[in-house]
Symmetry: C2
Subunit: 718 residues, 2 copies
């Protein structure tokens, strides 16, 4: 009701909406670029120094410097994460996903899920957290750990969007009056959706992929208008990145060369494939699906163990991170020694052994004119390793044994690296492992296929992504944008579909698994079969607190103090109507504002004065999350406690309702599709009280339903 503003306000609102999207795009692009620049430079310097030592055959020194740098970097990232902002650990995508599903509902706090205190909930910490996440992510990725920057990047962008949407952080006085229009959930959620799209766009330089990712994987609601705004945001990111890279191309960015932002040009422009190539691709997809679901399975097990260790205290967290770092360094430095040196092929356009950081022909320990193919995979940043694997015309560069060894190592290093207390993404490790797997399949196929091995690597990445993340369209577009080759499209699509189908047989996708592991009450889009057998009346429970249209202050205070509900039905009783009538729904937050303002009445009458003059829209605007008033903070005198307050003007008179005999499955559809927090249940028969109960998100959680109706357990889906 307080949102009906004049046309001037509407124009300002629209301009603001687009400006915020623009800002989110610019900042995400900037952060993404800075992130990459830093990683390329730090990791680059590290590899250049160690490579030079290797050339000078000081192997011990090289290992010392390599492992030492990795250790220091990882400890730095881990310490930041552990001591300053624990929320920055992990990928962040599950949190964003849960937030967009509506999980920031204040009643979540009453649950055991303290995990929800992540960045969105505590605005004051958000900006620290996101800054540290950037720093932490740079350090973690530079430390040669098998983690990616995509997840943290998405999370950081979502944080930027969230901060902007809340009008800045109040703690640091960074507020802006202009930004104060966004005091409702929907606008904030839209902005966070755009932000997550921008994050993908910034991480992979894939604007269309970013929009699709936000649509397919992250968001729970979607409108056509939002599609357009998300697209605008990612377009801004693309333009910003393009401009910054233009600047860097002139060589001002240190080691950030043409590598830089992930973008693997599969060099062979004319990819040709025919129907005979179909069987290998099918096999690739099937095994990729199995490997992907196994990845999820193992990851879950490892995460459970890590959670146990991490809960023991900060020291254990750091010890865990340290041991993984040392183990990773040993693997990366030690395993290449197992590969036999190969003689450089003649007639190359590239230098062999490679000079500088990238290239397929790392010299490592070999004699002159020889190269170590395994070192060019292990002893490199993840981005460069992927680029090496994707490159075409290199069918004879790698040996089967090297690729196999690298595949096994990266598969397991990726799994053990994720759960550490550092900002870490899953995307890049999975892409890398998948690329190795694909190349391995390509090698084993040998002459049975006309496809080159670089192409097999691309398809391998797709299959493992499909098997683990279970996204189809967005992963497909991201891969196409990464490789800049649209002719691959049908093959990539095919592989993704097969691997997703295969993997779906075994378990759920990795983000669902993470969301569940964190205990976030995520609302699924589909109703489970047993919900059809229940009516709404079956799950509504607990004592219902109802307020009268004009209610005594002491009553309100009592109810607010004794319950944790966030919405209360308001019912008009005989003095104000002939029979009890449901008037509407009032929110706890609004009641608190009322109590604070203390505009009470001395008798049980309707308020005569115009309330709209006493309250501005600002008073009822949704606070930044985590900034909730507390009933304990309001002092009321005994006299005031005896007074009355007219709730009518502050009540939402159009709450959504369902009849108590409505099937639970249908109520869930309403709840989820319309995006509700509270759903009033009204009785069927008119002879009873006008409201039977309130449904909230928790009433739809399988745990709750099956807890009250255990006999349904057998009919549960799967």
């Amino acid at each position: 009701d307080w949102r009906s503003r004049g046309p001037g306000h509407i124009v300002r609102y629209i301009i603001l909406k687009w400006t915020l999207c623009f800002l989110v795009g610019v900042l995400s692009g900037g952060v993404g670029f800075f992130n990459n620049l830093a990683v390329e430079n730090i990791a680059g310097v590290k590899f250049v120094i160690t490579s030079n030592m290797m050339l000078a055959r000081k192997f011990g020194w090289a290992f010392g410097v390599f492992a030492g740098t990795n250790f220091v970097l990882l400890m730095f990232a881990s310490m930041i994460t552990t001591f300053i902002s624990p929320a920055a650990a992990g990928s962040g995508i599950p949190e964003v996903k849960a937030y967009l599903n509506g999980v920031d509902a204040p009643d979540i706090f009453s649950l055991k899920t303290f995990f929800v205190k992540v960045r969105f909930s505590e605005v004051s910490d958000v900006d620290v957290s996101s800054t540290q996440q950037v720093v932490g992510c740079i350090a973690a990725v530079s430390s040669s750990l098998y983690v990616g920057k995509a997840g943290p990047m998405i999370h950081t962008s979502a944080c930027i969007a969230s901060i902007l949407g809340q009008g800045g952080s109040r703690k640091y006085k960074l507020t802006c009056k202009w930004l104060r229009y966004f005091k409702n959930d929907r606008d904030r959620r839209d902005l966070v959706t755009c932000g997550s799209g921008a994050g993908v766009a910034a991480a992979f330089r894939a604007p269309v992929g970013g929009v699709l990712f936000a649509l397919e994987c992250v968001s729970s609601w979607w409108r056509s208008a939002l599609l357009w705004r998300a697209f605008f945001t990612t377009a801004v990111v693309a333009v910003i990145l393009r401009a910054l890279i233009d600047i860097c191309n002139s060589g001002k960015c240190g080691l950030f060369g043409k590598g830089g932002l992930i973008m693997f040009d599969v060099t062979s422009a004319n990819v040709t494939y025919h129907l005979i190539d179909l069987p290998p691709v099918l096999v690739l997809g099937v095994i990729g699906g199995i490997l992907g679901s196994l990845y999820n399975f193992l990851l879950e097990k490892v995460l459970r163990v890590y959670t146990l260790i991490n809960e023991k205290g900060h020291v254990y967290k750091l010890l865990l991170a340290a041991s993984v770092s040392i183990f990773t360094s040993c693997c990366l430095f030690g395993l290449p020694w197992l590969a036999s040196c190969k003689r450089c092929p003649a007639g190359l356009s590239e230098a062999c052994p490679s000079i500088g950081r990238s290239g397929n022909f790392k010299k490592f320990q070999c004699a002159p004119d020889h190269y170590n193919d395994l070192a060019s995979l292990f002893f490199n940043t993840n981005d460069d390793a992927i680029r090496n694997l994707y490159s075409a015309g290199t069918d004879n560069v790698f040996q089967k044994s090297s690729v196999f060894l690298f595949f096994i190592a990266s598969y397991f290093l990726g799994i053990i690296s994720y759960g550490l207390a550092v900002p870490s993404g899953l995307f890049v490790p999975v892409i890398l492992t998948g690329a190795t797997y694909g190349r391995l399949v390509g090698m084993l196929m040998g002459s049975h296929s006309t496809l080159n091995h670089g192409l097999f690597a691309v398809l391998g990445s797709a299959s493992l992504l499909g098997g683990s993340m279970r996204m189809t369209v967005s992963v497909c577009v991201i891969i196409l944008e990464l490789t800049n080759n649209l002719l691959l499209l049908p093959l990539v699509m095919l592989v993704l579909l097969i691997s997703k189908t295969v993997a779906d047989v075994f378990n759920a996708d990795v983000y669902d698994m993470l969301v569940k592991l964190k205990g976030l009450p995520y609302l699924e889009a589909h109703a489970e079969p047993y919900m059809r057998q229940l009516t709404v009346g079956d799950v509504v429970g607990g004592p219902l607190q109802i307020f009268n249209g004009v209610e005594k202050v002491s009553n309100i205070v009592h109810v607010l103090k004794t319950t944790g509900h966030h919405g209360f039905p308001v019912v008009d009783e005989p003095p104000f109507s002939s029979s009890p009538v449901l008037f509407g729904l009032i929110l706890r937050a609004h009641l608190l504002v009322l109590l604070k303002k203390k505009t009470f009445l001395h008798a049980r009458t309707l308020a005569s004065i115009d309330v709209s003059e006493q309250f501005s829209a600002e008073d009822f605007a949704k606070r930044g999350s985590g900034k909730h008033e507390n009933i304990e903070g309001i002092d009321l005198t005994a006299e005031e406690m005896d007074m009355y307050v007219d709730l009518h003007p502050y009540t939402n008179t159009s709450p959504y309702t369902v009849v108590e005999t409505m099937s639970l499955a249908k109520a869930l559809i309403l709840f989820r599709e319309v995006g509700l927090r509270h759903l009033l249940v009204i009785p069927k028969s008119s002879s009873r009280a006008p409201v039977v109960g309130i449904l909230t998100r928790h009433d739809f959680m399988p745990e709750h339903i099956l807890g009250t109706h255990p006999f349904l357990l057998q009919s549960r889906w799967k």
Copy 2:
């Protein structure tokens, strides 16, 4: 209720769902390929013959053959459309869009909109119509008319999906028992959504673009699962097309050479652009937006005039088509004469003048070693003209005056060609006109920009598409897939966003306009501001027909005969409950089935026998649209009329309800998001009848609301 089947059924259902998607993909791909093959061959032969005559300087003969062929082809298409399946006229996208918005609701038939009798409503005609649409579309496109094949292609694919979803056409005994599972709206609508995506994929060879098109432009509801299925369908299309083209590459397809399916390789692989190129691109976007909205404006005017002419009778329809055909032929053949011949540039890799059908250097009337640049645009299929315009490194091939002339001509020919009684799409003409416009801008920019003119043409297409169709993400992806160059992405995005924003200031997008022009009751996603001022009770009107739980047969027959409603509330009254209680909602279709089965009761008692034994799920399954039972078709004796029928087992006991004081805007959100047909309105006070009214789609139409509440007109949006 009858949908709760065993696990075997569920597995069969899932397999069927995917099989149908697969079939839709295969058939769409096949039809799309056949369509292109036929167009390329028919138009190709036409151009080869006329070109040969031109070489022999028999200009009169050439014109005669050219205009004659065009005339015959167009008359053929027009006659098929007029006499056999009038529904096949036009693009078909508005109808698909309206169907997916839920417009096939039977109560639409009672409206004045006989247009709704389009292909979806009359299954029996669907397959004829779609066959003819293919044939008609081939003829129309081959006749050098300025119409595209994308629209009809999308419609055809949607038809294929619809036919498959209904289990074949009963009229032609092409039914299949296996396919009979899809007897509910949702599955059919999902399949049609996939079909429309497949249509785009088949028309442009753009699978990702197809999915996005279905998502952004066509569908009104969207689920993540559907995204995956649509993606699968378009992937199948892509694979099928790829395989068929593989076959054709060996030269077995006549004139269907490498041209064939739309796919314009912008040959310059390394597109470079910098920040200085931004201003020209911005200008291009702004003017493109203005031109696009002007296009829509003019198209609407022309369509209104055409509708008046077409309504006069078949002869007028044919005459209109004939005159446009002759006018088009005259333009295409006559205008190139205005261009001066240019000398062939030296050192070309191409032949000059071009040999065969395609190429930039048509000889036309010129002397040897000279070429007519205007003829290479006019005297060509639309696809080849676009390819010529998009090609890079041809900055000096075209003259400013030629391009300008072609731009004006194609802009207006496109507008006057759309409304004819032939299957016609809007996409290709808009792309062509936009490409010309872009090249013109590029030429006028001259040395102020480093972009090549082919790139300008691509951006011009984008800007005009953005200005006219107002799609962003899907058009962007389609253009990228057409040109196979991802580096264009940021520029294309930018242009699209600008042109859409500019054009949105002036008018609505072209499909909205067409939907409105056809009088389809399309339900918008957003609530208009005046809806906030109304409650549900304000718009519910008309006498409400209520049935008792056990109702007299004669009553039912009377109500069904006198009203056109399609849903009736069922209320239990005192004999069966203590006070009147709302039991649920029964559909007209189910009542008719009941009346036909004649399982009546002699007294006003509850039925004792188990009804589930008497009726199979098949009986209540949704009929193929247009196959509705009629109350007149059911004969009942006087004795039967006096009997009773127990409606309880056949009633939907969980209808969605709203309280009468609910704001209309919120009710609209519920109606639209959950995808309802009927919404029961229940009273606030418990002392009244248990149901106040039923809301249907029409109660949310602005015309209806503003008709009953004219004072709201002033506060209407815009």
